[in-house]
Amino acid sequence: MEVNMLSRVADGMFWLNRYMERTDGMLLTLNTLYIMSFDQETNDYQGYKPLLKYYTDLPPEYIAEFQHDSNFVLKYIICDHKNINSMRNLITKARENARGSQDKITKELWEHINSMYHFINDPELPHKLETPEAVSILAKLKNDFLLYNGIFHVTMPRGLGWCFSSIGKHIERCLQTISMTQSYYAPIEYNLEGKEDLIYWRKLLLSPSGYELYLKSYSNIPHNRKVIQHVIFNPDFAHSVIFTLGLIDTYLDCVFKNNNLIEARTMRNQFGRLKSYIEYTDYHHLTNLQLEHVLKNTKEQLNQFSMDFSKLFFSYT
């Protein structure tokens, strides 16, 4: 395996995958909430609020105004250029990072990102989203992301570039899982003994493709504690916090293996503490307050780790 790569390129690959993972997560959440919004009987008081609250910087009064407005949300999330976190802007940023590291990504991957960029920048897209075509647009975008992940997996060499981009991807995924979990637990005050039904939890579970695995792995009500067990502590669920931290750990090993920087050991320990914090949390006896703290602290520590990681490897200017 190559022992080093340009810091700028490593930075580009890290952010390429972070942006793509964020866009993918946002799309899956949007798609779930959009499809569920057709069902009038679910008494959905939150609507698109979890999506708008985490993925946009809209003020609370705007969120309250638009949280049930599919037409607005679809356009704002997918193609509004004024929304810095719209899919259009995120894919554009991802493409810029891909361009900057084009000699380290495969031709197949570049071509796919490029075709996604052209699709999302189609001037007709906002208009089409106002029509029933919106469903097929969401389906196409979902398929594009599946294809992106597939192409990445099948064509990219397992060198340092792979490690840096995978770390970026899983940091982003972990942060999304924590944030969306907070979005559904905060309104019920992190009540682990509550009796929220499966319809309530479906939205949280469907977005990261965790619903079926949840049904197979857990049975009987109540769900509140089991959902936490699933999204945070289930090592078999590809979007769980414990799973994503485990993968980051693996890729950090590769990055640090041939690296003699003194700061590398400190960083390794920093991440080890973060991972152990989750690993050794006793979720069977977790209290409501402890859950809130675990989610908040993990998110803060992961953000801090991401910043320190960037400073160590990507500070090329």
Binding site: M5, R8, R99, G100, Q102, W110, E111, S115
Partner: protein, 449 residues
Amino acid sequence: MHTLESLNLDKLNVKQKQASDIFMNQGITFTVYSDNNQGIERIFPFDIIPRIITKNEWIEVETGIAQRLKALNLFLEDIYNEQQIIEEGIIPASLIASCPHYIPEVHGIKVPHDIHVHIAGIDLIRGEKGEFYVLEDNLRCPSGVSYMLENREITKRIFPEMFRANNVSLVANYPMLFHNILVSLSPRSISNPNVVLLTPGVYNSAYYEHTFLARQMGIPLVEGRDLVVNNHKVYMKTTSGLQQVDVIYRRLDDEYLDPLVFKPDSALGVPGLISAYKMGNVALVNAVGNGVADDKAIYAYVPQMIKYYLNEEPILKNVPTYQMENPEERELVFADMGNMVIKETNQSGGYGMIMGNKATDEELEKAKIAILNNPRNFIAQPIIQLSTVPCYIDGELKLRHVDLRPYALCGPNGIQTVPGGLTRVALTEGSLVVNSSQGGGSKDTWIMK
């Protein structure tokens, strides 16, 4: 032709669309900058009908280019060292001294194997009788080679049967040949020297080409901010610290290379790079200062250079060129502006060019004033009707004017011209301007074996 004849218009339309989609999806684009500095990303128009050049025609081109480059390399070695060509009165000293691309900072430099031009793109046109003329030598950072390679790949995909049925010379080994030359220039005698491609960055109009070549040669694509000079050695900043760089294939013009020597406000270059280069700790490809040899005013002297350095008659002719510094030649041009093309000596890419037969009287008057104000800055050439080839445009086969840019590589083992090239097409009917920045397109070029 048999394959083309067997295809109806619908099929050709499908193939044209197929080719455009491939270009679009691959991001094979270039950026055009307008006066307000707004960059627009465009696809380089591609004509699906390949241009064919026979074996005998190619032999003339190949030997002519090799001869020309040999002389140009000797000229550069001479002009940055002894300057015998000036002493012998072949080229006026004033012409060199007034050339903005002559770089006195590298005078006396010894480059590896005495090679200054490692990669050259020589623009050729054909006259009325089919004879080749050299229109321009590109000896600094010639671009377009990625289009030559991609055009071939696309042609193979859209006309597999036609390609298979013909005996076309291979161009795909260009990156390997070039990479071998780059490795051979390393100042350190190590088995695996660090070779990098230096790009101005993602906003450069030829960025696609830079990434393409870096990928094809398996070398890192670096920007100026990725490099640092320490103790007259160049290093790249990597995730595990600094790593020494041995050879830089730079796609950055001389004046942006080192803010300590050239433009102080350039953020694209590397402070201290020229000092490392002069100390022989890093090789730059192409060498610094080559612009003096492809200056449009110096161009007129290339036939004399060939005679002086090689004692040979030029195989490829120059287009007759009038120096605007020479009062007699200037008057001659002013009397016949309608049949002349006026070019600024320090411009390229079709910029700073006036076609006398298309310009208005007002534009011609303005050009005259500009020439009189700074005659060294201009040359004039008679308008030559470029040859035409069939192109598939708007659902029909039409004739369009073309030029040809073959790419030649110079290394310690000699000069090799890749059997192919970039055929540039003036897509507008009657137009003679083929530059991509001026709406030109390209097509694959087949050299028959």
